[in-house]
Symmetry: C2
């Protein structure tokens, strides 16, 4: 095979893999959005075959020999091709350590677990979900040992969502956050409380759908390439740079919950939409890590979406859509209400300050589930104990407790820390943006384009063609420093609560 | 390979094929329902790979030798397995005559054509759609010649949707219908007209969605296994007996249009939902032919959905959902309004009497496109001429003319006659049902269960495990006789119009 032929084969291999990933994502998206509820079996049969075919493409001899021969000739490859070969070999290497049968059984389990979790959450029935959770934890523990028998299993899992992240680093990070957040929270709780009663009225879903459209417009999301759906748990699914889906969940008694889901998922969507089209149909398409991904979503949700400037520009839109409910509300009152700090049960509804504490609960539990010091059956008890310890609140049921998130049923153990880490990345990115242009003026003028352009230039366009650490260096031009995040929180909440 | 191993391989082969069909249908469904509009390219790349993989599974040597060895040992197979082998060999034989490259280029073309047609219809721009139409017609003509070089190409295409149907049979059938419908239509048009003005008011889409739910309830469609979506053109997509999707299109100024789409697609859905679960994941799952499929949909839409009994039971529901618009309307007035005969532009909105004339226009055009006596560029002119000749109306634009249907952009040339044929099958099925139980009493009491049970028993459960002709024999216990249909139309419309 000539080098040109081999390069063509490399492209063809990736197009093939893209097609299977595309099909698998479509099927999962359908299941989570519009698919009828009692359709798990037929979906599982299809998923199993397609996931198996994708596994086989990665594992077959021709694939390996192609990749190895290209690695040997790497001086004849361009930078992208080199990275493609490297990534393909890395994932092949990982996959080759997981027995095919176990891999497919796990895919089938996740398909089933999604339906089981939905029902268990609805019916507040942890027992019903327990067997799935046990199998998922067990597989993740085994998988970690297969991939890196020499490493602590939870370190292996963390690394899958944010390359280079370890418990040691996460512990240090959470410790720094805790040191700042806990006293700040105590001070805020002791201060006079913010009135957010006007947020708790009836907001018809139909009107909230209109709000979602307006929010996506404010975020400059091209609707020809991105639609919004409705799911139990909001998420983003990107097929290629020109086809991204976000979802939300509407609650009639609270528009801000869905509003911040839309802005959050919109941040993810902008990342996927901003990736260089040349990376489509390769393994380098898609965001590079969950930490970087969450930096984008959390940045839009909080630093932008809960800023004075953004809220000021949001108010007339809210008053247009909800004239009765928003009558007489001032920009400052809305800003304070949307930033009200209140330890609460649900992570996705948490204020910016207590948010990290929700993540820490999950982090502690995952760590112990994987190292075997906590059994799955004891998760509710431990969950409730930690919510009491970290947030000072009693968890009345598992539906609003350990069954609230979709991550574990989706097999995503090791994902949660990315949210907190992403928040901190985002805060530091904003410090850097402020050096480059008048960030606050953009918010004040309701013009997010310069911000989106900066993020696209520094982060989005690279997709997965650079490592997360390269991306961070490229946009921060400095070491990652969690104190940007804690300083941001201290400044913001001292101001709001007059500390 | 032992016979047991071969049987297992046969099952495995079909599960594989099912998975690819499942993925392809999911992707097409997404495109037609919720997918963002500017996403054709990335979808096309994925479809191409997956369709190619399915083609390769059908064509590979192991598949053929398995099927041929099973055919040789057919006395060791049960009836279903025999039929599976027969169907697989038949489709393999057909596929083997279509060059892989042409097959995949055509799949890619259909993906593109769907988007082009959507836009062309929206913008009333036939010229934009013309190149796609030309390529689709050209491929269908070539495909027919590849498959059966000795037959008239349009006969080959008709046979794909209703096995055994030929132009000779279709001509005779349409001639019989024409002989009855044309004088009947003349008499109806001369009679005093029905008042249907109350159908043309504002019916908010939100309320129409509620009506759809109620209609599906009346039709006993299990929502755990069937959901409704919204598309430009209504259709049904069945994945397996436990997962079926229907779609509709809402118009604010007319609820009956979507209402009859829902009942029509509901008829298709009941067929798919009623198939024996043992046929899932085999080539015998799914309805057997479009003629039989349309018999179910048209039967529910018209013979049931436009009957006095059904309409009587529908009225209180309409009055509950649209209290202002339906105030003071009597069951008889609603029955007459919903059966008003009026030559019109849009097939899916046509009354039962003029409906066949819409089909005849399409049949004539398809016949001539395929035999080469009509060029694609002349379709609008010919369409408009035939609408004037058959229905006496002027077509103001192509949007409401030859661009109205999705079939040609979907490559479905030869499909349209199934609608008219299905209507006639349905009328004869009802004559047979009336021998077995009190059909009219069921409608009068608003109890469709005995009808659904009869159809499931005689038709649905067999899926594609029997030929269409066997299914017809099984439920009609007689030769197909179009006069049942024409008698039904004559009786119904003579009554309504007092002829």
């Amino acid at each position: 095979m000539t080098i040109e032929q081999a390069k063509n084969e490399l492209a063809r291999l990736q197009v093939q893999m893209y097609a299977y990933r595309y099909a698998l994502s479509q099927i999962s998206l359908d299941a989570a959005t519009v698919g009828p509820k009692d359709t798990v079996e037929g979906r599982g049969v299809a998923l199993s075959v397609l996931a198996g075919a994708l596994y086989d493409i990665s594992m077959k001899d021709e694939t390996i020999s192609l990749l190895e021969s290209l690695r040997e000739k790497s001086d004849e490859l361009n930078e992208l091709e080199k990275k493609e070969v490297e990534e393909l070999l890395r994932s092949h290497d990982e996959l080759s350590k997981i027995p095919r049968e176990d891999y497919l059984a796990y895919r089938a389990l996740l398909n089933e677990a999604d339906a089981v979790w939905h029902k268990a959450k609805l019916e507040d029935d942890f027992e019903a979900f327990l067997p799935c959770l046990e199998k998922i934890v067990d597989f993740n523990r085994k998988m970690a040992a297969w991939i890196h028998p020499d490493k602590a299993p939870y370190d292996v899992l963390l690394d899958r969502y944010e390359r280079g992240l370890t418990m040691e680093k996460a512990d240090a990070f959470f410790e720094a956050v805790r040191k700042s957040v806990v006293p700040l929270l105590a001070a805020v709780t002791a201060a006079p409380q913010v009135d957010d009663s006007f947020l708790h009225q009836n907001f018809p879903v139909e009107k909230q759908r209109i709000l979602s459209d307006r929010l996506m417009e404010m975020q400059h999301i091209d609707r020809g390439h991105c639609v919004i759906g409705e799911t139990e748990h909001p998420f983003t699914s990107g097929f290629n740079h020109a086809d991204v889906r976000i979802t939300t969940h509407y609650y009639e008694d609270n528009f801000s919950d869905s509003m911040y889901s839309v802005i959050h998922e919109g941040g993810h969507a902008l990342y996927e939409l901003g990736i260089d089209p040349a990376l489509d149909y390769t393994v380098l398409g898609g965001g590079v890590s969950m930490g970087i991904h969450e930096s984008q979503s959390r940045l839009f949700e909080n630093i932008i979406g809960r800023s004075r400037g953004y809220v000021k520009n949001l108010l007339p839109i809210l008053q247009e859509i909800f004239p009765d409910q928003m009558k007489g509300v001032t920009a400052e009152a809305l800003y304070k209400a949307l930033n009200k700090v209140e330890p609460s049960l649900i992570r996705t509804q948490a204020d910016e300050l207590t948010y990290s504490l929700h993540i820490m609960v999950r982090y502690e539990i995952e760590k112990r589930l994987i190292d075997g010091t906590l059994e799955c059956k004891d998760v509710p008890e431990e969950w409730n104990r930690l919510y009491k310890e970290y947030l000072g609140i009693d968890v009345p049921n598992d539906k609003e407790g350990c069954l609230q998130d979709t991550h574990w049923s989706g097999g995503m153990i090791g994902y949660f820390p990315s949210y907190a880490l992403g928040s901190a990345y985002g805060a530091q990115m904003v410090e850097k943006m402020k050096e480059d242009f008048d960030f606050d003026a953009c918010l004040d003028q309701g013009d997010l384009l310069p911000i989106i352009a900066w993020l696209k230039e520094k982060i989005h366009r690279y997709g997965s063609s650079k490592d997360p650490s390269w991306i961070l260096d490229n946009c921060l031009q400095a070491e990652f420093d969690p104190s940007c995040y804690t300083r941001y929180l201290e400044k913001k909440y001292s101001d709001i609560y007059g500390l």
